[in-house]
Subunit: 224 residues, 2 copies
């Protein structure tokens, strides 16, 4: 008789199988894919709005906006100039999974896409356990959330490649310490790239856009 | 043959059974219990610190501080003067459940307790589905998170009795609109009590403390 596989293990391995398929498909088309994760209200949608506005004319950007309820984020991204935006309303689920991504990915023209941005549900816990086939997870943290978050939600910071500290214009309005948050984040994940910016004032956005363009170039080797 | 009960249904009904036991136990001892929920960094621990400092001498307050990792919040609450603080480290789980509460509740002296504060994991999604036997859920939202949160995470606002808008000292630093967040919250839950305050400056804290004291009195009928 075959071993009984626990439900959670079964769900994760099914997700991993689908995520691997997505990753292969994206790599075949040289599409660089990022999965944006954070607490609610850290500024994921704002960062994507700014990024679309800056790069939307030179790069083809596909956007998947996940939310528990409402299509507000997808509408904001479309208003910001996003040409290919697909909402996923999870209807209560606390994270996106690879099955949801597979379902909407068929609506994109992968031949022309340079970048795929996936905006996950605002939640610092659950989305960390679900691979969506992305190249990297980008975790946002805002300066109004407290600098202890990497220690308190280590899973997310361990599985992310980049940490974006948003709302640096509000530094000084609380006891949030930029050096302390970096120290805490690197304690959890020594390899983390760290960027600081303010979507509101635009400070630091250039560095983010350069980081992104460099990654796109690396992902798409120049054909002689 | 008995009907096969799906796993999720089984877990919820087991949780509800334990929550009902906790509720009965707390009511027998006339203990008013609140379950604090919010995004990470909205100020749950700060509000509890201020509340302990203000009422800790006149009321016996029990505190349960839930966290994915670290006992930081429990330590902060003890430093703030909390005499009976118990941490629950969920070790990855995204919410507290009634089983965890049952386990630590036996460490409290229920005979002397007036109030029980449960600080849930910072997460606007999952904790909404788990009754902990509390009298009410208090949902915090900070003015730096965006005023669309009640619409985007409706489950939590529907199941809460009170919404505390924290960080009102930072109004004006973003496009967060106090009237809009109230309108959105009442769209989801018309009966929601709404309080506005700043843990940092102390503005509005009096109203919160009065609200709390009134509830404790109501909960503990005067014996002639």
């Amino acid at each position: 008789m075959p071993r009984q596989i626990p439900l959670k293990e079964k769900l994760t391995s099914e997700n991993d199988r689908l995520a691997a398929q997505i990753r292969e498909q994206l790599q075949q088309h040289e599409i660089f894919a990022l999965n944006f994760v954070s607490s609610p209200g850290s500024g994921k949608t704002s960062l994507l709005e700014k990024t679309i506005a800056a790069l939307g004319n030179s790069l083809e950007i596909g956007l998947i906006a996940g939310d528990v309820q409402t299509e507000n984020d997808a509408e904001r991204l479309t208003r910001a100039g996003g040409r290919m935006v697909r909402p996923i309303v999870t209807g209560g689920a606390c994270h996106l999974d690879a099955k949801m991504i597979t379902r909407v990915l068929s609506e994109f023209n992968l031949e022309t896409l340079d970048l795929l941005f996936i905006e996950n549900v605002g939640n610092l816990v659950c989305p960390s356990s679900f691979d969506l086939g992305e190249d990297m997870k980008v975790v946002l943290i805002s300066t109004t959330e407290g600098d202890d978050k990497p220690l308190k939600y280590p899973g997310m910071f361990r599985r992310s490649s980049v940490m974006v500290v948003n709302k640096i214009d509000l530094l000084g309005t609380s006891d949030f310490d930029l050096e302390r948050v970096k120290k805490h984040a690197r304690q959890i994940n020594a390899d983390l790239d760290i960027l600081e910016l303010s979507c509101r004032t635009g400070d630091g956005l250039d560095t983010w856009l350069q980081w992104l363009q460099r990654r796109v170039r690396k992902n798409r080797p120049i054909v002689a």
